[in-house]
Symmetry: C2
Subunit: 207 residues, 2 copies
């Protein structure tokens, strides 16, 4: 089972690594980090880390699973016809097409979210409407084989949901235990509905 995670300069690392850490533990899974342009290291949004792409998108035209991560680098991808063409063709034969954070905007730009409910990072939820989707403020949105997740850390929840669909709930739960995903955030400010208004404003200004 080939799982493609496209990576690019300006990626948000946790968008990709959350789902990778879950899905790589599925029986028979082979996760491929693929450069959207070419193989080699891709620098993250803050440029503090390089994730190594072992191949390029064109090396794997028909993965069973697509996980498109986000980051400000997705802005450029939304207008790149070569990348959008790969996404469309891969989606035609995929079993699952998924995104985390602003990865949804690339799926949207490729036309895949047309008429579907979808989500992305809370700061960019409005953008999804412009791309033909119905934006919904939920952590994980399932629409048939298309699953979109909200910002950054939500990819872990999305991937556990997907793991259960693919391999059953027992395996998904065993993976959850293996990565000891029993979250205890020290604060309750992980969504705009819960964070105090001044924190929402601060997060907006810092973004």
């Amino acid at each position: 089972m080939d799982i493609a995670i496209p990576i690019f300069d300006g990626i948000t690392a946790l968008d990709a690594i959350g789902p990778y850490e879950v899905l790589s533990r599925l029986p028979g899974a082979r996760v491929h980090f693929l450069g959207v342009d070419e193989p080699g290291p891709k620098r993250t949004d803050n440029r503090m880390l390089g994730l190594h792409a072992d191949g390029a998108l064109t090396d794997l035209p028909h993965p069973e699973v697509i996980v498109f991560p986000g980051g400000y680098g997705t802005r450029g991808l939304m207008n790149d016809e070569g990348i959008l063409a790969w996404v469309r063709a891969a989606h035609e034969t995929s079993q699952w097409t998924t995104s985390v954070c602003t990865g949804a905007l690339v799926l949207g730009a490729a036309g895949i979210l047309n008429g579907l409910e979808a989500t992305t990072h809370w700061l960019l939820l409005d953008k999804l409407g412009e791309l033909g989707a119905t934006p919904v403020s939920r952590r994980v949105v399932e629409q048939g084989k298309v699953i979109t997740a909200a910002g950054v850390s939500s990819g872990i929840d999305m991937a556990l949901t997907l793991a259960a669909r693919m391999a059953g709930e027992d395996i998904a739960q065993a993976i959850q235990l293996a990565i000891e995903y029993d979250p205890e955030p020290p604060f309750d400010s992980g969504s705009t509905a819960k964070a105090p208004p001044r924190i929402v404003e601060m997060a907006r200004e810092r973004s």
Copy 2:
């Protein structure tokens, strides 16, 4: 503020990337991924991903913050006197010395956990006792400037705790919102206390 994350072949990626995604957003933070031996790509535990080390441990003898991630690769590090010497010397001048998952075993092998409460991945909690620590089954254990976290995903909670200590609760909460960390695991099986016994057994067998 220099934050050192030692990386090595056999690392569990999320151990490092969870804290990185939080701490890199602190004002003035510079996160350095440092190869324990030399710069270059380090392959993860399943060999499906290369994380690029831009420098080596010896390039940064006195970081303000140390985050030691885990993975089966830590087994070899526990007997590597050069690495343990770096950990000891860096800890002498650090403001914070932290670990995720089996990174705690490296801190323990360096003598840093002597007489302290500490935690690690549930599968290896007993090992901490052999290294002079008092093992405790908690997600994040603070002992002065030494903070240890449980398995893999717990590094996110540890880093948010640390972010609050370093920069105040408002900034920590704004970071939590920026990475939209409002966890909704689809199952409640993230700890041995919560998972059904057959899931614990399955996770143990698969490890």
